[in-house]
């Protein structure tokens, strides 16, 4: 990964391609690279859909190698949803393929003068950018089928659906999985709209004739990978729970904890949870000939993605994830897993963030646009988004926009981005991360990644809010670093619990780059990334006033525990004091 692919969409005579050495960004990957480029090259006050914004697509530091779980791909830009810096990452095949082609990142710059759409094709022989307006308003599924017809099935696609073309703030960037289906998404923050503003409908990657990225110390790398894989396989979460039930295994326990937001964050429990849980989903998938145990990219050993078939036994969508099932399920009062799966399919096809759309429909239901629990009405609302009707344009721009359009007070967003599937009143610690993350409300911003092993967590008094602040800070630091490696965050449990697995991760990085990486280096990387992001956001006009949860989380009691969010503003402002 020694080169950058820059495509200037504003160039006279059509898009101009330049392949240049990675230069000052050498050694960075994933979130570290996207946030470095955006913070250094994008004017913070630039319009997110304007020519000065840049869309950066970067494989992780270990992508393209034989390292297990190294297939996350980061997408970064200034977000049209939050107005700040954004990194959203996805599984799928593209990260490995892009890395094997030797690119540390693809950077889309400028903006085409005409309303044309382009296809970018990249293989070992070079890059070709083609104007192709026949792709206009194609859903991601039809688009990928068309690409298969043109380029064969040994490709990986990065694409946008109609939502991205319409530059909606909930638009995602889609990544194809191992079966060449557009099921994996960099969903958060409206990055699909930025890709749409660049006029790029799809990037087709073909790594035929390339080989794995070679580590500096192959023997050490191979040994570390074996230890890493062994650690993942022997841990009950990564070796058993996730492969058996997928991420939606969380639904029942979050519901039991009274932290499962229901009916637009009105309650903390949903009566229909057992009908839409991961356990129920997995049994249904097996009965219909689907598969609850499936990797989203080659080299995945956890295999938590899964395949969902309809009642007739035909493929409908990938196994809807925990966040998706919650957003379109409990949050909207819908307990029909088939309706939720259809919503997932439509989101993927139109290219929409499932969390944002579920929260948006919840707000629309609170506004009286549809009745809570009416799955068919929810499907119709998503179809409005796909059609680009006036109502669909409002919904497709997210929960905050929908709340404003319909005069709803209870809108669950931070920095305009919808809250994920954990109510911060029940789990105060995650509320701190929602409020203060550089990304807007984001459940992955502060993940359980080995802060205890890194010894940056320290002793935390459970009765004092300072404890929440310190844990959130250190989780955000650790997560920023892991997001840079290209590793799937679901390695977290094994890495956290098993020191030898965490050491194996460090050894993988050390052996690949020929350095001696320590826990302190990981912490330093995470802090550096967060500092870039915080500085960009400050210059973009985001202040402490945006590091807050919506007012109703402090005022409304959440049943069944009848709790409110208690962490003070003064404490929230200490999160980034280091």
């Amino acid at each position: 990964m020694e080169k950058l692919l820059r495509i200037n969409m504003s160039a006279e005579g059509g898009p101009a391609v330049s392949v240049i050495p990675v230069g000052e960004y050498a050694g960075l990957g994933g979130r570290a690279l996207t946030s470095a480029v955006v913070s250094k090259e994008v004017p913070p006050l630039a319009h997110p859909l304007g020519e000065d914004n840049k869309l950066v697509i970067a494989p992780g530091m270990l992508s393209g190698t034989i390292a297990a779980m190294s297939g996350r791909c980061s997408v970064g830009a200034k977000s049209p949803l939050t107005g700040g810096i954004k990194e959203s990452n996805s599984g799928g095949q593209a990260s490995q393929v892009l890395a094997r082609l030797g690119y540390a990142a693809i950077i889309l710059e400028g903006k085409p003068g005409e309303n044309d759409l382009y296809k970018v094709f990249v293989n070992k022989d070079g890059v070709k950018v083609t104007r192709d307006n026949s792709l206009k308003m194609l859903g991601n599924y039809d688009l990928v089928e068309k690409m298969k017809g043109e380029h064969g099935d040994k490709i990986a696609c990065v694409s946008i659906g109609p939502a991205g073309e319409m530059k909606m703030c909930a638009a995602s960037v889609a990544f194809t999985d191992m079966e060449l289906r557009p099921t994996r998404h960099a969903g958060r923050g409206g990055l699909g709209a930025v890709m749409g503003s660049k006029g790029v409908k799809v990037i087709v990657l073909d790594d035929t004739g390339t080989s794995h990225c070679a580590p500096k110390d192959p023997d050490k790398f191979k040994a570390a990978n074996k230890t890493f894989v062994d650690g993942l396989r022997k841990h009950p979460v990564t070796g058993e729970g996730l492969p058996s039930f997928g991420t939606n295994i969380l639904a029942n326990v979050i519901n039991e904890a009274g932290a499962y937001p229901t009916h637009n964050f009105l309650w903390g429990r949903f009566v229909g949870t057992s009908k839409i849980s991961g356990e129920t989903e997995a049994e249904l998938e097996k009965a219909r000939g689907g598969n609850p145990t499936h990797g989203c990219h080659r080299g995945c050993v956890i295999r938590c993605s899964g395949i969902f078939h309809d009642k007739d036994g035909h493929y409908l969508t990938k196994q809807p994830e925990y966040e998706t099932v919650w957003a379109h399920g409990a949050n909207c009062g819908i307990d029909n897993i088939d309706e939720i799966a259809m919503l997932d399919r439509l989101d993927d096809d139109y290219g929409l963030d499932t969390i944002e759309m579920g929260a948006t429909i919840g707000v629309a239901m609170e506004a009286g646009i549809a009745r809570f629990g009416d799955g068919q009405a929810a499907i119709n609302l998503i179809r409005e988004v796909g059609k680009g009707s006036a109502l669909g344009r409002i919904l497709g721009n997210g929960a905050a926009m929908t709340g404003r359009a319909f005069g709803v007070e209870r809108v669950p967003v931070v920095k305009n981005q919808a809250l994920p599937a954990y109510d911060p009143r029940a789990i105060q610690g995650i509320g701190v991360t929602y409020a203060t993350s550089t990304m807007g409300a984001d459940h992955t911003a502060g993940y359980a990644v080995a802060t205890n092993i890194l010894k940056v967590g320290g002793y935390v008094d459970p009765l004092k809010p300072e404890g929440q602040i310190e844990l959130s800070r250190n989780l955000q630091i650790a997560t920023a670093a892991i997001d840079s490696t290209g590793m799937c965050l679901f390695i977290a449990f094994a890495v956290m619990d098993q020191p030898e697995t965490f050491q194996a991760l460090l050894d993988l990085l050390s052996a690949f780059y020929g350095v001696n990486m320590t826990g302190d280096d990981v912490t330093a990387l995470g802090k550096k990334v967060l500092t870039w992001e915080r500085e960009f956001n400050a210059q973009a006009g985001l202040t402490k006033a945006q590091d807050r949860l919506p007012e109703f989380f402090r005022k409304e009691l959440l049943p069944p525990h009848n709790v409110t969010f208690q962490v003070s503003d003064a404490d929230l402002d200490k999160v980034f004091d280091w």
Binding site: I249, T273, K275, S277, A448
Partner: protein, 203 residues
């Protein structure tokens, strides 16, 4: 299986089914939603799990990493007492930050301190003896403990049971006979035994 094991005090109807092994998971939604069980109460959760359910200490320690008592995450299963009428939920270690937070005694437990079960929530059991609790099983605990408890007999809502039976695949529902009688009952004691082969039957 003896009649006394099967009976759940207070349940009205009774239904004994025999189904093929691969259809037992069809009943799992009932175990997730919650079922009533007659067990020793007034004792620490560990004692209930060991003496009431027959689980080994090793299983309890290694497999039951996430425990809720009346919806509150429990850190100390030796200090938390179960009382008549309470709800106990059991699950293995769960993924993600939330899974780490909810895990008993975990490093991230302080992040959910506002809802954590505290020993003084129920430190003084009012009564020690047989009682009725609602139990829920999640994740691998559902697969590992569910079939045994179904075989032992559980009390569930008749409406919930009817819904599950209606959703059973045709080949399994066939042979169970007329189940309309369930409609008149509020609660039903259900026992599910595993058939060696063939279709489901109603005993």
């Amino acid at each position: 299986m003896t009649e006394s094991n099967l009976a759940v005090p207070g349940a009205a109807g009774r239904l004994c089914l025999t189904v093929p092994a691969d259809r037992v998971p069809c009943f799992f939604p009932l175990l997730q939603k919650g079922f009533v069980l007659g067990v020793p109460v007034g004792c620490p959760i560990r004692v209930l799990l060991r003496d009431g359910l027959g689980l080994t200490d090793e299983y309890i320690e290694t497999r039951l990493q996430t425990v809720f008592l009346d919806g509150k995450p429990v850190d100390d299963i030796d200090g938390a007492f179960i009382r008549d009428g309470e709800t106990l939920a059991l699950a293995p270690a769960m993924p993600g930050l939330m899974g780490a937070m909810l895990r008993r005694g975990g490093f991230y437990a302080p992040m959910r301190s506002g809802i954590t079960h505290r020993d003084d929530d129920n430190a003084a059991p009012r009564w020690i003896g047989e009682g009725r609790i609602t139990m829920k099983l999640f994740g691998m605990a559902l697969r590992e403990l569910g079939p045994k408890l179904l075989e032992r007999g559980i009390e569930v809502g008749a409406g919930d049971l009817s819904e599950v039976i209606r959703e059973l695949p045709g080949d399994c529902r066939e042979g169970l006979g007329d189940l309309e009688g369930l409609e008149g009952q509020a609660r039903v004691t259900l026992r599910v035994t595993i058939a060696q082969e063939g279709k489901g039957t109603r005993d």
